[in-house]
């Protein structure tokens, strides 16, 4: 049987062998942790601690500010030294709670409050997801309870478990599926039951077939779940493409999976749900792939939230010139070692130098290679020319600019080395500004 996949896309080298075979290791506590209160999509959390207060690992230190927001928890037992601002991956200053861990702070997970997860209803699940600070750990950091809450409006009939992990270098999801398969399965069960989803589709790229087999074995017989190996191809893990590949439906412009009765959840999110929700504990750490040619000890690390990058670079890096949060296709470069890890950081890539392509930039020769790569069938060549001409309106209208999720496949194949996603980001920013005024 041929593996399922979408048409187009690209096949960059995966670089996953460097990290995927070694077990998840723990990273120690940095001397000062800064828990960003805006590490998720939505309103920043409201701090609930005072300066000088002693907090315990797992203790709630900030509460959700409204529905589109989540709680935050102390990653280490220690003392709150200040509530100040910290740099996020985008280079913005965000409010944060600074905690100086005690020398004796342990890394075990404290049970906060036992939750009867076997008998939760939808409303309780929404409450507890927000309470434990759950967000999409695949990188988007979108509050999970908001996704779940869409089941209030209309039935969610399908749950897609996203284990594609198509970004090169990253193997965090892979390790989680192997080492925390019971947690993943518990998370899927919890969500399926509360949502009342009839279908569960577990989708994993075929370069991680061991992970799919592991999950399948852990789940056992009689689940009725569909186990779908996908062809290894970038950007296989994109929500729009998973919905197309698995359900044969497209999400029209502006639609979310919930509008089709679908919920897509990343495997690490589900693992954390399955692990933390029954004990009512908040997210205090996450698995991060650390790799790159300037990384001395590549691997997957359980990194406490709020760890400054400078600490990780000191521990694992060798004078990197370029540090990227996330994968090499869609990740963000960081300017400063003061930037702290948040719930959305899936990878930390350290490079000895800039990762410039050979040659270019040259003018677009309309070779059409970007059209053969764009998974959404857009016309990146035309979009690029319009961006250079400042023709924002046509980009937004006829060329569907806002459908583009900047996967970078067009730039990957471009022989003229035109920085297309960068042009698109600039155009989107200009349009947002224009539309706002």
């Amino acid at each position: 049987m041929g593996l399922r996949t979408f048409s187009k896309g690209v096949h960059p080298p995966t670089f996953k062998d460097l990290t995927r075979s070694s077990p998840i290791r723990r990273l120690g506590f940095a001397p000062l942790l800064a828990v960003s209160l805006a590490g998720h999509l939505g309103r920043p959390s409201r701090p609930m601690v005072r300066i000088g207060e002693e907090v315990e690992r797992g203790q709630k230190i900030a509460e959700a500010d409204g529905f589109l927001s989540v709680a935050q928890h102390a990653p280490a037992s220690g003392q709150v030294t200040k509530i100040d601002q910290v740099l996020d991956a985008q280079g913005h200053w965000q409010p944060a709670v600074f905690i100086e861990p005690f020398a004796a702070s342990q890394q075990i997970l404290p049970v906060h409050q036992l939750v009867d997860s076997q008998h939760l209803d939808l409303e309780q699940l929404i409450h507890w997801s927000q309470e434990i600070g759950m967000v999409g750990l695949g990188g988007a950091a979108f509050p999970t309870h908001v996704k779940i809450a869409s089941a209030r409006e209309g039935a969610i009939h399908s749950l897609i478990v996203n284990g594609a992990e198509c970004e090169p270098y990253l193997s965090a999801d892979h390790r989680v599926m192997l080492e925390q398969s019971a947690d993943v399965v518990a998370g899927i069960r919890l969500l399926q039951r509360c949502l009342g989803a009839q279908r569960v589709l577990v989708a994993v790229e075929d370069n991680k077939s061991d992970a799919l087999a592991q999950l399948r074995q852990t789940a056992g017989e009689g689940t009725g779940w569909e186990w779908v190996p996908l062809k290894t191809k970038y950007p296989q893990g994109a929500e729009k493409l998973l919905v197309r590949v698995l359900l044969g439906q497209d999400l029209p412009s502006g639609f979310l999976p919930k509008d089709l009765g679908v919920l897509v959840a990343n495997v690490t999110t589900l693992a954390e749900m399955g692990l933390l929700l029954p004990i009512g504990a908040g997210i205090v750490e996450r698995v991060v792939t650390v790799a790159g040619d300037a990384c001395l000890n590549p691997g997957n690390y359980l990194v406490p939230l709020g760890t400054p990058l400078g600490y990780i670079l000191d521990q694992l890096g060798e004078k990197p010139e370029l540090v990227v949060l996330g994968g090499p296709m869609m990740g963000r470069p960081v300017a400063s070692g003061q930037t702290v890890t948040t719930k959305g950081v899936t990878g930390i890539l350290m490079f000895k130098g800039l990762q410039r392509p050979t040659g270019g930039p040259d003018p677009c020769i309309s070779c059409g290679k970007c059209l053969s790569a764009c998974p959404l069938d857009l016309n990146p060549s035309r979009l690029g020319k319009l961006a250079q001409a400042g023709a924002w309106a046509e980009m937004q209208g006829k060329q569907h600019l806002f459908d583009c999720f900047e996967c970078g496949a067009c730039a990957y194949v471009c022989p003229s080395r035109i920085p297309l996603p960068q042009l698109f980001r600039a155009a989107k920013a200009a349009l947002r500004k224009e539309n706002a005024s």
Binding site: P252, R332, P333, S336, G359, C414, P415, P421
Partner: protein, 335 residues
């Protein structure tokens, strides 16, 4: 730490690599032309190619401000595109073309055909074809004088007309003939398809070997520098229309049309020029079918036997409009 925008991974393909591969694919055809026409082929193709390269080298710094949209770009390193245009122009000329005319063609290709629009990537029309059509209009007699191939002394001497002085009528050596297309069109001679395929007929420097062009064209596709849909669209549509005419008893049939004149070279090497061909899938089929059907229709009912160059230019001209009318269907348009 330094900053750079995503993506941080890039594929191996480069513009210069693509251009070099096209150039490599053209060289066997140049070699064949040399084997067939001897020094005359080298003189004409060489003049045109070196002329294009020299014009490009001169215009690249001068033309930079013209680049307009990409005005802020750093000066670019040279690529093989002027060599490709020059060789294609040379291959499209008759063997007895005076070198100075080939040079005029090279100048026209790089100025009117390319840098008037701002250089590589900005031209609307294929530079080699622009120059070919310009020469056809400016020197109609010379450009329709066909010297025979396989002359015994071709490796030791040029065709005298190659060395004609500018603006002087080339001395007639009295042995020129007509192409199979001309014979069919004007003398109503039955088409000799075998003469075409076995390369015994009179033709432009690169037109006489449709089989070789086909193989090299397939190589272009395999080397990922040409979109297969364009030549396939042209050849299939031309064959269909020619077949229809044949059934109606009007024309010489698909095999004759496909292997005569510049159709094969145009379909594989000129129509596939990425800059002047469409990228949107539907537009590609419109473009290629327009060129293919147009060539056969115009050969049948037009005033000239060979019309490939005109159809290529018309195809180029329609690209922006067709692409506007037939953009790719994006994800989510048909839920």
């Amino acid at each position: 730490m330094k900053l750079q925008a995503a993506p941080f991974l890039h594929g191996p393909e480069t513009l210069r690599g693509m251009m070099n591969r096209v150039l490599w694919a053209l060289l066997p055809l140049v070699a064949w032309s040399f084997y067939k026409y001897g020094l005359a082929a080298l003189a004409v193709i060489g003049t045109s190619a070196v002329g294009c390269w020299a014009m490009e080298a001169w215009l690249r710094p001068v033309g930079a401000p013209v680049r307009g949209l990409l005005g802020a770009m750093p000066p670019r390193a040279p690529d093989a595109s002027p060599w490709i245009a020059g060789i294609l122009l040379g291959l499209s000329l008759p063997p007895g073309t005076p070198c100075w005319i080939a040079l005029v063609g090279a100048v026209v290709a790089m100025t009117l055909g390319k840098w008037a629009f701002g250089g590589l990537g900005h031209n609307l029309f294929n530079p080699a074809v622009v120059a070919r059509v310009f020469l056809q209009a400016a020197f109609p007699a010379t450009l329709t004088t066909w010297h025979p191939a396989w002359q015994p002394g071709r490796f030791t001497q040029l065709i005298p007309a190659n060395l004609a002085w500018p603006m002087m009528a080339p001395s007639s050596d009295g042995i020129s003939g007509a192409t199979p297309l001309g014979l069919w069109k004007f003398s109503h001679q039955p088409p000799d398809w075998w003469a075409l395929v076995s390369d015994q007929s009179q033709s432009s420097l690169g037109d006489g070997a449709p089989g070789l062009v086909l193989v090299l064209g397939l190589a272009l596709v395999l080397l990922k520098v040409a979109d297969w849909r364009i030549p396939v669209g042209i050849l299939v549509s031309a064959a269909l229309v020619a077949g229809l005419f044949r059934l109606m008893g009007l024309g010489p049939g698909p095999l004759f049309h496909l292997s005569s004149g510049g159709l094969m070279l145009g379909a594989w090497f000129m129509a596939t020029d990425p800059v002047t061909s469409p990228v949107s899938p539907k537009a590609i089929w419109v473009y290629s079918w327009f060129i293919g059907t147009g060539i056969v229709l115009l050969r049948q009912w037009g005033g000239q036997p060979e019309v490939t160059a005109y159809l290529l230019l018309m195809g180029n001209a329609m690209v922006p409009l067709v692409e506007r009318w037939l953009p790719p269907t994006p994800y989510g348009a048909n839920p």
